[in-house]
Amino acid sequence: MSANLLVTRRQVLGGLVIAITLPACKQAPKSTGAATTFEPNAWLRIGSDNSITFFCDRAEMGQGVYTALPMLVAEELGVSLERIKVEFAPPGDQFINNLLGGQVTGGSTSVRDGWEKLRKAGATARHLLVAAAAEEWGVDARSCKVVDGVILSPQFKKLNFGEVAEAAAKLPVPKDVPLKPASQFTLIGKAHKRKDTPAKVDGSAIYGIDVKLPGMLYAALAQPPALGGSVKTFNDEKARAMPGVVAVVLTSSGVAVVADSWWRARKARDAEQIDWNAGPNGTLNDAKIAQTLRKGATGAGRVARNDGDAAAAIKGAARVVRADYELPLLAHATLEPQNCTADVRADGADIYVPTQVPQMAQAAAAKAAGLDPKQVRVHTTFLGGGFGRRLEVDFIPAAVELSKAVKKPVKLVWTREDDMTHDAYRPPAFDQAAGAFDEKGKLIAWNLHLTGPSITSRWFPAAVEKQVDPFAVEAAANYPYDVPNVHVDFRQQEIGIDVGYWRSVSHALNCFVAESFMDELAVAAKKNSYEFRKALLEKQPRYLKVLDLVVKESRFGYPYRGHFHGLAVMEGYGTYMAQVAEISLEGGKVRVRRVYCAADCGQQVNPDTVIAQIESSVIFGLSALMWGEINLQNGRVQQTNFDSYRVARMTDAPRIDSYVIESGEAPGGIGEPATALVAPAVCNAIYTATGRRLRSLPLSRHHLA
């Protein structure tokens, strides 16, 4: 891409991008296709051979961007989705996610961020292609039509995109090309088969772990067993003598073995003798973390919401209900363990990595290699799960250091145990809720005092220097119920270890507390959980609609004999959602039989993916609810593999029924929100079944005889 294209891009994007700066690193996409003739913007390349390539600037980690994002472009470009080839884009400021301020795949933002700019990218390209054809024919461009990549003149002359690509590239880029109204959409809103499915059913999809480079060596890494620990001394004599071992290297992450196969590297790693410094967390355990949070909770937090005067209302109330809730640390446990392949040379480096943050990956690799970011090319692969884990770049530097040390490409692969014990875990929480009624039984105050570590203070310290961490008060600050006095605050209390963004982030913490406690208040008010909520949502039509829909579809309150219902409601990522969980109890254990989910996520792009993401999120939330907890002893994570960190399997999977409302509103995020409602919906059902209110998770901690 030439420097001119950057100017072009600015014109194309107009006011959409607030601050486009020259990319710190410009990297040509890796495509080696036909002669490039037309690149109207960062996302599109149309070849003279009539090929159309979309550079997907978001990571495909299951959520379907590989299909939904090219749909946005294709809709305006005027081609069928099948015509578009997708390649992963390199890092670059032109790909910044305007909702997150970097090239980041997360926060259920991909469609929301791309909604206008990708349609504009398609519309602008089409405008230029049609203008070029019209010029050739000497007709008015407005009289031409586009049918699946073919431009038609009023006299039915035909030119395909490839034939006019070169001419289109010479035309000035228009500023504001109008977009189709929703009523004219032919692709958006209609179910399309995922473009990545074929490669995912025949084993040909390439994930980071599958990368193979000529002359590549393999590495396994021993990391400090205590989080935050370090290497004191090590003896590599035995490891070095093992077959296939090329080198034993002390990296910034631990002691690694480089060998001619990964299995040999791993065997030799296990033969390393290492003395570790436990580091600052050498005595950290669960009880200590719980104590730290409880102590932290005695102080006031930063205010996220303050309507009326909740403290005064509670003081003067006829009746006050209070409850404390606790939530554990969680691992992400992506099925593809963390890995990175690095090829470091004197003049530059290439890294091949499944990442949600290619720019940060580039920066981390450059730092580790002692290179300028401009000299590092990042090749994003398919991700074998993300869930927020791959927003971290902790697995990158060691791979780069190893390649630099042995002067060959090196693929570093973590074991499952490495992965489980070295995560940036979902933060724990200690949360205190209070609700107050007046003498007539009306709910007059709601107070939520949240305590936990702040992820954002590590990621973007400047963003939370003076204000509450917005990623700590989701599903809390937006308390939807019509209550005159509402107070929500977040007390940041660090616990000594790094915590990370985990699918739905604080929604999963706060929705559990808020929606469980709403049921506690409903019980106190002697009202059914549906009617109690409904009466307080009269001014919230979008909430009300999903609530009514899920209640109707689930026949809420009238389950099969021996089954019990629980309800939860939430808005997150611009999506309104209500869930009903249907459970039974078998030998004191909860079995989630069925989950009904109603959603209003505004304009859908690929409706089948919307449903798939609801199903996916429900199962993800279910794993956490049933068994999810990371325990620490002497700073060491006790869970190591899927035997000790249990996740949902086929035998645990409930039937999931999704009901999606066509509301015509702007698109909302769908990759995450349903995760957060499972726990409160199930715990509310457990209360109905047993009269026991569970205020801590996971359920495996509780015996419900």
């Binding site: 059913v201 593809e336 499952r416 399997r649 086929m650």
Partner: protein, 154 residues
């Protein structure tokens, strides 16, 4: 040298005899469709067929394979035409897709032995395959569909 029969081809590999079949397939033979997930036969991502039976290749030393034919996802069909692959495409089962080779190998072994699997059969056959994206509902539906396709009701 160890002789193996993989996807109908006889190959010779020079590897330590205790090396798990998984790593021979992936790193020596370049058949990366078979995935590493846990290394303890807990997740099923490495499932392949050994003489038609589903096994976790991370727990099979290459020396134990002998002359038993090995089938991986790459050898299931040449053109995604196996009924399970067809059904997977029809139901758009995969999300991140990382577990799906293993899921498909477990499912194809199931319908080979039980042409009309019940829900309980599906539970038993698929319980060893973890999907972190939670595609279980679609896997269940796709297995039923694959059984239909196999029976000729395409």
């Amino acid at each position: 040298m160890t002789k193996l029969n993989v996807n109908g081809n006889t190959v010779e590999v020079d590897v330590d005899p205790e090396t798990p079949l998984l790593w021979v397939l992936r790193d020596t033979l370049g058949l990366t469709g078979t995935k590493f997930g846990c290394g303890m036969a807990l997740c099923g991502a490495c499932t392949v067929h050994l003489s038609g039976n589903p096994v976790r290749s991370c727990q099979v030393p290459v020396s134990a394979v002998g002359d038993q034919p090995v089938t991986t996802i790459e050898g299931l069909s040449k053109d995604r035409s196996h009924p399970v692959q067809q059904a997977w495409i029809e139901h758009d089962v995969p999300q991140c897709g990382y577990c799906q080779s293993g899921q498909i190998m477990s499912a194809s072994a199931l319908i080979a032995s039980k042409p009309r699997p019940s829900d309980a059969d599906i539970d038993t056959a698929m319980a060893g395959n973890i999907c972190r994206c939670g595609t279980y509902q679609r896997i269940r539906a796709a297995i039923r569909r694959a059984a239909e396709i196999k029976a000729g009701n395409a």
